[in-house]
């Protein structure tokens, strides 16, 4: 582009006009205020997005082998539902996939399946690997028993016992990526008579 074209272009003229206007009395101060206000508004907008992802729901990636075959080792995008348990704190169901802060490492967020609710009697490890298969516990008030679907590669309640419900952030609602395996997760616990 030749220099003459640039000078005549609309964007350049617009910018020049604004610069000229800045020389009006008080205009520079006003412009600075506008820049500040606008950046606060951008910050506020990001805060609003953050609050939405914190309280309502969000898409997130998952990794780790502990939930195979329900969730792949990597490369999947899921939708977290953070609203249900907030609105109905008693809606925990056996078989739900939950997302919670790890009880042994507060930097980590883990995803496991709810096996037992308060008052249930649970066999710690039926295979007898991590605890004798005869050991049973009653889950105390306000706690849940969680377990990964891939028990060979999962650190879960078999190691650290019942987990406080207060650590639960939300439940897994659906898998959206890859599209070939997109699903809505439902509690698949069956009652055996």
């Amino acid at each position: 582009m030749a220099a003459g074209d640039m000078v005549r272009s609309r964007a350049f003229v617009w910018m020049l006009e604004r610069l000229v206007r800045l020389r009006e009395p008080g205009a520079a101060k006003q412009a600075a205020r506008n820049v500040a206000l606008r950046s606060f508004k951008v910050f506020n907008f990001f805060c609003a997005i953050h609050l939405f992802t914190d309280y309502v729901g969000r898409a997130s990636t998952m990794e780790g082998p502990s939930m195979l075959p329900t969730l792949a080792n990597e490369g999947e995008i899921v939708i977290e539902d953070r609203l249900t348990y907030r609105l109905w704190p008693n809606s925990f169901t056996r078989g739900d996939l939950v997302i919670l802060k790890s009880p042994i490492d507060s930097n980590r967020v883990i995803c496991k399946r709810i096996i037992g609710l308060p008052g249930d009697t649970i066999c710690v490890d039926p295979t007898g690997e991590k605890a004798p298969s005869t050991e049973h516990v009653v889950i105390p008030k306000g706690h849940i028993w969680i377990s990964g679907d891939n028990s060979a590669y999962s650190r879960d309640s078999r190691e650290y016992g019942p987990v406080p419900m207060a650590l639960v952030r939300g439940r897994l609602y659906a898998r959206v990526w890859p599209p070939s395996t997109a699903t809505i997760f439902r509690s698949n616990a069956r009652r055996l008579e």
């Binding site: 206007r21 009006e24 205009a27 006003q30 412009a31 506008n34 606060f40 910050f43 506020n44 907008f45 805060c47 609003a48 953050h50 609050l51 914190d54 704190p89 802060k101 790890s102 009880p103 042994i104 490492d105 507060s106 930097n107 105390p140 008030k141 306000g142 706690h143 650290y160 987990v163 406080p164 419900m165 207060a166 650590l167 639960v168």
Partner: protein, 212 residues
């Protein structure tokens, strides 16, 4: 329509043509900034009232219905993950996710604690990622002596100082300042000596993981 929008957003118009502010727009001006306020409260500092007697005499020292208001720092816990023995913290109750407790951290992972009566074992080693918490008033407190060590992930914020009542405004007593209390008979000096005694008593019940 487009002209009106442009007018609304053009920055350098004279102040006289601004549209008159309705009541709704005045409310909206405050609501609009709500997300920023909430996020700052969530990640930095917030105020909370403390109810209950479990932290007597540090918080709510008299039995009146008046509740203390304290400033809590969430940045130290959420972002820096920094907490130590003797810190007063808020945490989600492990027994009821809707309740929040205010307690003092007694021991960190690996420490050996001599427990108090309701607990079934006399001594316990705090497991990884867990802490031992207790109220300052051992008889009115639902704490680790009842439900055992709690996960450090439940800790929510650290108390910085008491804001209300103004007579007790200030940081919680530090062990270093407590040692320098003069042996007078003024109520405040007696209170400080009692505080120091409780501090020594708490210390005597914990063997730090670095010490053995």
């Amino acid at each position: 329509m487009l002209k009106r929008i442009l007018e609304r957003f053009s920055r350098l118009r004279p102040t006289t043509d601004r549209p008159k502010k309705t009541r709704q727009s005045r409310v909206w001006r405050y609501v609009y900034w709500g997300p920023t306020v909430v996020v700052l409260g969530q990640y930095f500092y917030n105020l909370k009232t403390v109810s209950g007697r479990s932290m007597q005499p540090t918080l709510n020292p008299d039995s009146s219905l008046r509740k203390d208001i304290a400033l809590f720092d969430r940045f130290a816990i959420h972002t820096l993950q920094r907490f130590q023995r003797e810190d007063i913290v808020t945490l989600k109750s492990p027994e009821n996710p809707e309740r929040t407790l205010v307690k003092r951290i007694i021991a960190l992972p690996g420490d050996l604690v001599k427990t108090l009566p309701p607990y079934k074992e006399a001594e316990v080693v705090v497991p990884t990622g867990h802490v031992w918490i207790e109220g300052d008033e051992p008889f009115r407190s639902d704490d680790s002596n009842r439900f055992g060590p709690v996960s450090a992930s439940l800790i929510d914020s650290r108390m910085v100082c008491v804001i209300w009542p103004l007579s007790r405004f200030g940081l919680p007593q530090q062990s270093t300042t407590l040692q320098a209390v003069s042996p007078g008979d003024h109520p405040s000096q007696r209170a400080a000596r009692a505080e120091f005694e409780r501090y020594r008593w708490r210390q005597s019940r914990v063997v730090r993981s670095t010490d053995f």
